[in-house]
Amino acid sequence: MEATHSREQVMGHNRTGIKASPMDGRALERTVSDAPPPHTESLQATSLREKFTRQADRFGSVPVVATARGVAETALHVLQGHRLASFTDKLGERLAFERSGVRAYEAVLVKLEALGAWRGGPTRDLLQAHCNEELAHFHMIKQILEHLGADPTAMTPSADVAAVQASGVFKVLADPRTSLSQALQALLVLEDVDADGWDMLVEVAASTKQDQLAGKFRDALATEETHKERVRGWLSHAALADAQRTGDGRQQASMH
């Protein structure tokens, strides 16, 4: 599909820089030009932040596993105390991440439908396949948590932090003014983190001899690595299409 409504970057009256205001900008520069540069090392703010960081409470706890049955039935019984809490926390994070991933791909699909893509860019079928795979991962983690006797509806501390981390990404995806390539750039942030998250789960499962789980996690990791590579590829093609684009370069600096 070729781009039908690409978001071209245009040269125009951007007012944010100091040179956009020749008179006031010069006056501003004059007020600071004679002052020596201030010392900005060893500021009090840094030590104050360190103090707050040492004293801060944690975000919260990992919910207690409802029944020990699930854990006992698996080799995960070797995970006790904080290791079990940490594993449940990370499973909760992946669950929330994959669930949000479905919504992220839905937002990118909106961009594709509304704006179209470039040669070598994403197709509807591939984006939908990624979306479905995120959903499948969500269901897989949900089942694992249920099997362990954990509550898959709970928000774990790492899930909470991951949501804060992703909040900027979702702002970019939902903004009708962003282009498809800008949305994919934001999506890449998610896919990057996602693959690392699965990688860590593989390590934990493998280290506790959870071969079956490790296998499932490896499959998910492979899928997420494919997502990441595809998104990178689509963005490369966008950059290439930009570079090869002819036309009014003065007014239109970038195609996507």
Partner: protein
């Protein structure tokens, strides 16, 4: 435990001070604290905001009161800061929005249950079902925009179901005004209830107007604009319940009594000891304000505060789930509408032509609240729980 308003002296105004560090306490835990802790923080921020706003207005109209108002107002402002800074920054603006609606549902339900005046109780039940619907719409937004489960915030205390449809709640201003209570005949608790909801809804309105434009999603922006419009109606409704013949000082007394009443309720229910200590400190400060204003009332108006205030305030706000009460109200009154100052079943009233025309015009180009929740059914863990993973290619 009832609080004896005339006897409790609290902390004298001149001893009420804060450091900047005290104004910025560590936040509550989004995950481990009770949802009602968030509810209390949001409500008390709104009530403090209302007190501050009232005191600025009072100063604009009463030269003699400018100095005492400035002194009390500074403390109110700092209390508001301290309370509002308890909100957890890992709560997104939408999470906090869900909290605002939980306040509007559970606190209004408690007030509707305890309200001694039948007409006022009806008004509260009427408003309750509208905020109940807002929660449903915002929950759909959280689920469908970011894949988040509203129940992580609500902690199963509050149902996520449609109420009176938001798109139907739009009304001509004439149909938002209600009969006010009679300042001489009304129970003090009725006055405190009205001020609690007036200030609470006012802050909800402020909050939506502040954060609505920070969203990028066009449906989210539209939804906040639409619900902010309803909140403006609610502010009109609840504000109109207060008797306009009350004097400025009489109203000031009631504002202080409302703060005392609400901090006392917060203190009784709070399970987090650190936050409970904050409620207790604010209660002691508010008792000091009440004493201070009672003094002004006697000196300036030459009236006995007992004309306005009861000896003690019973029946605290119940910080608990009102699921059964709300379900009954939903079952019986979801189709109610308002015409002029009256509220009743849609068939009984005509739902006046004014509001019908107003609503039709507002919804002419479509309704964001309908779009955001099209076919939405909340499920534990989001609606994606129902979507089959077998779709995988």
């Amino acid at each position: 435990m009832a609080l004896k308003l005339m006897e409790e002296k609290g902390v004298p105004l001149e001893r009420q001070r804060f450091t900047l560090r005290e104004l910025t306490p560590a936040p509550m835990s989004k995950l481990d604290d009770d949802a009602f802790t968030r509810v209390r923080i949001i409500l008390m921020n709104g009530i403090e905001m209302g007190a501050n706003r009232f005191q600025h207005l009072a100063a604009a109209f009463n030269e003699d009161l400018r100095e005492p108002l400035a002194r009390v107002r500074r403390v109110e402002h700092h209390q508001q800061t301290m309370v509002n800074w308890l909100l957890s920054p890992d709560d997104s603006p939408l999470d906090i929005t869900l909290g605002y609606e939980q306040v509007a549902i559970e606190v209004t339900a408690s007030i509707a249950e305890h309200e001694p005046d039948d007409y006022l109780a009806q008004v509260y039940r009427f408003g309750l079902l509208e905020d109940f619907d807002h929660l449903y719409r915002y929950s759909a937004l959280a689920d469908r925009l970011e894949g988040k489960d509203a129940n992580n915030i609500l902690q199963s205390y509050t149902d996520v179901l449609p109420g009176r449809p938001t798109s139907f709640e739009h009304r001509d201003p004439h149909d938002d005004l209600r009969d006010h209570y009679d300042r001489k005949a009304a129970a003090p608790l009725s006055k405190v209830h009205a001020l609690t909801l007036f200030t609470g809804e006012y802050q909800t309105h402020n909050y939506y107007l502040t954060i609505g434009p920070m969203y990028t999603d066009p449906i989210a922006r539209g939804l906040y604009a639409e619900i902010a419009s309803i909140e403006e109606q609610h502010v009109t409704q609840y504000g109109s319940l207060c008797d306009p013949k009350e004097t400025w000082l009489e109203k000031w007394l009631l504002y202080e009594a409302t703060e005392v009443y609400n901090y006392h309720s917060c203190m009784q229910y709070e399970g987090n000891p650190r936050i409970r200590a904050i409620w207790e400190r604010c209660l002691d400060y508010e008792l000091g304000h009440l004493q201070f204003v009672m003094g002004l009332f006697k000196d300036i108006e030459r009236r006995d505060p007992a004309e306005v205030l009861p000896e003690e305030l019973p029946d605290m706000i119940d910080y608990k789930s009102h699921r059964e009460f709300i379900r009954k109200v939903l079952d019986k009154e979801v189709d109610y509408t308002a015409e002029g100052h009256r509220i009743g079943p849609r068939g009984q009233f005509h739902d006046g032509a004014r509001s019908a025309e107003y609503r039709d015009h507002l919804n002419k180009d479509g309704s964001f609240s309908e779009t955001v929740a099209e076919n939405y059914v909340w499920r534990p863990g989001t609606e994606l729980v129902d979507r089959s993973p077998r779709l995988v290619a």
